[in-house]
C-alpha cells in the first residue's frame, strides 16, 4: 500500500551502454539497475527559505549533471542511472526522522543526502549511523563537530563552527586596529535564534582575546523589523565596527535602515543574507565593503563555471557561502563511489582519507571535517571575496574602512 513512492527516474540514456557493458563477461554483474539516491529536506515550513537557497538547488544541479553524464560511474567504468526519491520534511523534526527511516528501511536507498540545518542534521545523525550511511552535513555550523565525528564515525561536517568564524573576524579586526584603520571598539548585536546565539557566544571570548572592546552587546528577537533604536545606540557608542549576527529578513532590514539613518561604521559586518546574490545585485556599488560569513575565491575558474551552471539549471545564482560547499560535497561523494563502488563503508573511508578535485579546488577532510573554508567574506567588485583566513590561497585583501553609503 505504501510502496508506490513518487519517484523521479532520472535517465535511461546510459541504460543501453550499461547493458552492453553488463553483457561482457566478468563485468558489472553485481551492479543494480539503478542507484537510489534519497533525501528529505524542508520544502515547506520555517526552514524552506534556507533549504531553497543552499541545499535543494545544488542537489538538483548534481542530479542533472549525473543525468547528462549517464549516471554514477562505478570503479569498472560502468555508468548506472540514478533514481531520485525525494521527501518534504515540512520543517518538522519528527517528520525528517521518519522520512530518513523510510528512505533507509523502506526505499532501501543506496545513499541518502542530508537535510538542511544544524538541528535536522543532528536529528538524523543517529539514523545515518545505525544504517551505515555516510552523512555529508553541509548546512550545519557547529563547534561540536569533533565530538560528533567520534560519536558517528561516518558523519562529515563541512561548514566549520561558530568559533572558526568569530576567531577569523577577531583576527582581521585586531590587525586593522594595529594598522590604525579602526578603533578597538565593537558594537555587536545578535538575533535570538540558534544561529545568532551560537555565534555571539563564540564571539565574546574571540573578541576579548584579540584585545577588542565590546561596547555594545544586544540580542533582538526573531522577526524584528525596526532597528532604528539599535542603530542609533550603535552610532552613539563610538565603535568603528558594527557586527550583527543576523538572519534574513533582519539582515536586509538592517542594511536598509543603516542607509536611511546614515549609519556609517568603518566595518559593517552582517549575518546570513549578505551572501545571497540578489543582495549584491540590488545594492550595487553600495554593497562594496560589507562583510559577512563565507565568501569565494574570485579567481577560481571552476567555481565560476559552477555558478553559471547553477544559474542555467535553477534559474538563480548560488549563494556565496554554503552552496558551493554543498556542491563540492556531492562531487566528493560521486568521486568516492567511482573509486570504491557502492559499499557504504568503503565510501565513508574514502571520503575520510581521500583527496578530491572539486569546484573548491583540491579538497580533503581533516578528522572528517572540511577546514579549508572562507570564514570572512567582503563584497569587492561585485562579488563576495573571501578575505579571512588571510593566509589561505586565493585570499583577497580586506578593504577597510568601508566607504560611507
Amino acid at each position: 500500500m505504501f510502496t508506490t513512492f513518487r519517484r523521479l527516474s532520472l535517465t535511461v540514456l546510459a541504460g543501453t551502454a550499461a547493458l552492453a557493458l553488463a553483457a561482457l563477461p566478468g563485468s558489472a554483474q553485481d551492479h543494480p539497475d539503478k542507484i537510489k539516491i534519497g533525501y528529505a529536506v524542508s520544502k515547506t515550513g520555517a526552514n524552506a527559505g534556507g533549504a531553497a537557497m543552499t541545499t535543494i538547488p545544488n542537489y538538483k544541479l548534481w542530479l542533472s549533471d549525473l543525468e547528462a553524464k549517464g549516471g554514477l560511474e562505478m570503479p569498472d567504468g560502468t555508468k548506472i542511472p540514478v533514481e531520485l526519491i525525494e521527501y518534504d520534511d515540512r520543517s518538522s523534526a519528527e517528520e525528517v526522522v521518519r522520512a530518513v527511516e523510510r528512505l533507509a528501511g523502506q526505499d532501501e536507498a543506496h545513499f541518502i543526502l542530508p537535510p538542511w540545518g544544524t538541528g535536522f542534521n543532528l536529528a538524523v545523525a543517529p539514523l545515518f549511523d545505525r544504517y551505515g550511511y555516510p552523512q555529508l552535513a553541509v548546512s550545519a555550523v557547529t563547534d561540536k563537530a569533533p565530538d560528533f565525528v567520534k560519536r558517528w564515525p561516518k558523519s562529515f561536517w563541512f561548514l566549520g563552527g561558530g568559533h572558526d568564524y568569530t576567531n577569523a573576524l577577531a583576527t582581521l579586526l585586531a590587525d586593522q586596529v594595529k594598522a590604525g584603520v579602526i578603533n578597538p571598539k565593537v558594537a555587536m548585536i545578535s538575533v535570538a535564534d540558534g544561529f545568532g546565539i551560537d555565534l555571539v557566544t563564540a564571539a565574546r571570548p574571540s573578541f576579548k582575546e584579540a584585545g577588542l572592546d565590546v561596547v555594545m552587546d544586544q540580542t533582538y528577537p526573531v522577526g524584528t523589523q525596526d532597528f532604528t533604536t539599535i542603530l542609533n545606540e550603535a552610532k552613539a557608542s563610538g565603535a568603528d565596527t558594527f557586527v550583527a549576527f543576523s538572519y534574513p529578513p533582519g539582515t536586509f532590514a538592517l542594511t536598509q535602515q543603516a542607509q536611511v539613518n546614515s549609519f556609517n561604521p568603518k566595518v559593517l559586518y552582517l549575518g546570513v543574507g549578505v551572501g545571497f546574490p540578489p543582495y549584491g545585485a540590488n545594492l550595487g556599488e553600495k554593497a562594496e565593503g560589507i562583510m559577512t560569513l563565507g565568501g569565494i575565491d574570485p579567481a577560481n575558474e571552476s567555481n565560476k563555471a559552477y555558478r553559471e551552471r547553477h544559474n542555467e539549471v535553477n534559474g538563480q545564482y548560488p549563494d556565496l557561502w554554503g552552496s558551493v560547499i554543498t556542491y563540492a560535497s556531492l562531487q566528493m561523494l560521486e568521486e568516492a563511489i567511482k573509486r570504491v563502488g557502492l559499499d557504504r563503508e568503503a565510501v565513508s573511508k574514502e571520503l575520510s582519507t581521500g583527496t578530491f578535485e572539486t569546484v573548491l579546488g583540491e579538497t580533503s577532510l581533516e578528522d572528517n571535517q572540511l577546514r579549508d573554508l572562507w570564514f570572512v567574506g567582503q563584497w569587492q567588485n561585485g562579488t563576495l571575496a573571501g578575505v579571512a583566513p588571510a593566509d589561505r590561497k586565493g585570499a583577497s585583501d580586506a578593504k577597510l574602512p568601508k566607504q560611507p553609503w
Binding site: 520544502k43 519528527e94 526522522v97 536529528a123 540558534g194
Partner: protein, 320 residues
C-alpha cells in the same frame, strides 16, 4: 459495556503491539511510534476537552515542557526520575494555568491556550539566550526507538484506562453536565472549577510525558523544534475526527489520519499541505460530530424509523 471478552481482546491487541518491534524494521517501529504518540496525545486532549468542550491549543506547550525537561536533566538523573520530574513540572504549570484561566469560556480559552504555547516558547528562548547562552541542547541516549515506543505504548494504555474509569465514575457524570450546561451544573452544587482543574491537570501531565518520552528521537532540542504549533492542531483535528466526547473517539480519529499523513507525505510530498487543508474542511463540514458521532446518528435514525418519538430525543441530544 466492556465485557471480559473485550478486555481480553484489548489486552491481546496491546500485547501484539508491544511485540511488534521484534518483527518490524526501524521504519515500522518509527511509524508505530508516531502513531501511538498521536493516539496518546489525542486521547489525553479529549480527556479534558471532550466532555468539557473547552478547545485547548496548549497541547504543544506541555509537550515542549516535557521535551525540554528531558534535555536539561537527562545527564544528571536516571531516566525514570526525569519522567517524574517532567510530570511534576507539567502538573505545576497545568495547575497554575488552570487556576487562572478555567473560568474563561469559549473562544477566550482557545486564544489563551494558543498564546500559552507561544509564551512558554518565548520564556524558554529568553532563558537560553540570557542565562545559558546557547539555544540548542544535545540529547544523546544509548537506546533505540523501540524503547521510546514501548514507553509510549504503556502511557497510551494508561491514558485509555484513565479515560475509561473517569467515564464510569461520578467524575464522568459531573463532566458531562459541565459540558452540557455549566451554569446548571454550578447550580446543582457541582464544584465545576475543581473538576475542570483536576481533568485539565491529568490531561496536561499525560501530554507532558508524551513530549518527555519522544524527545530522545531528535538528538537536538530547540524551542522551534519542540514548540511546533502543528502538534497542537494535529492533535485537535484527530480528536475531533473521531469524536472527542467518546473514549475510543480519539483513537478512531488518530489512526486513520496518521495513516493518511504518512501516505500523503510518502506519495504527494509536494501537495501535502493543500490536500490536508481540504481534508480538514471536509471533516468539519461532513463529520461535525466525529466519525463515531456520525455512525451513532445514523444508527439512531435507522432505529427511529420504528418509533418516531425517540428520534427527536436522540437528535436533541446530538444537537445539545
Amino acid at each position: 459495556m466492556i465485557t471480559a471478552f473485550s478486555f481480553a481482546a484489548l489486552a491481546a491487541v496491546f500485547a501484539a503491539l508491544a511485540a511488534a518491534p521484534f518483527f518490524l524494521g526501524t521504519y515500522g517501529i518509527g511509524f508505530l511510534l508516531g502513531l501511538v504518540g498521536y493516539v496518546t496525545l489525542a486521547s489525553a486532549w479529549a480527556l479534558f476537552s471532550g466532555p468539557t468542550r473547552y478547545v485547548s491549543l496548549a497541547t504543544v506547550a506541555f509537550f515542549g515542557i516535557g521535551a525540554y525537561t528531558v534535555a536539561v536533566l537527562y545527564e544528571t538523573l536516571p531516566s525514570w526520575l526525569v519522567l517524574v520530574v517532567a510530570a511534576l513540572i507539567g502538573l505545576f504549570v497545568a495547575l497554575l494555568v488552570g487556576l487562572s484561566t478555567l473560568r474563561l469560556a469559549g473562544v477566550y480559552f482557545v486564544i489563551f491556550t494558543f498564546g500559552l504555547a507561544e509564551l512558554i516558547r518565548q520564556l524558554v528562548t529568553w532563558y537560553e539566550v540570557n542565562v545559558t547562552g546557547t539555544l540548542g541542547r544535545y540529547l544523546f541516549v544509548d537506546y533505540g526507538p523501540e524503547v521510546v515506543y514501548w514507553k509510549l505504548l504503556a502511557l497510551c494504555a494508561v491514558t485509555l484506562a484513565i479515560g475509561y474509569f473517569i467515564k464510569r465514575s461520578r467524575w464522568g457524570l459531573a463532566l458531562k453536565m459541565i459540558g452540557d450546561d455549566e451554569v446548571v451544573a454550578e447550580h446543582c452544587g457541582l464544584p465545576t472549577a475543581r473538576v475542570k482543574l483536576a481533568l485539565f491537570a491529568a490531561s496536561s501531565v499525560i501530554i507532558t510525558l508524551v513530549g518527555a518520552i519522544q524527545a530522545p528521537r531528535w538528538t537536538y532540542i530547540e524551542p522551534t523544534i519542540v514548540f511546533n504549533p502543528t502538534i497542537s492542531f494535529l492533535t485537535l483535528i484527530m480528536a475531533l475526527l473521531g469524536g472527542a466526547g467518546r473514549l475510543w473517539g480519539p483513537v478512531v480519529g488518530a489512526v486513520p489520519l496518521f495513516l493518511l499523513f504518512e501516505w500523503l507525505s510518502a506519495n504527494f510530498p509536494d501537495h501535502y499541505s493543500i490536500i490536508l487543508g481540504l481534508l480538514f474542511i471536509a471533516i468539519v463540514f461532513v463529520l461535525p460530530n466525529g466519525v463515531l458521532g456520525f455512525f451513532e446518528e445514523h444508527w439512531n435514525r435507522l432505529r427511529a424509523r420504528g418509533s418516531a418519538g425517540r428520534t427527536e430525543l436522540s437528535q436533541d441530544r446530538e444537537a445539545g
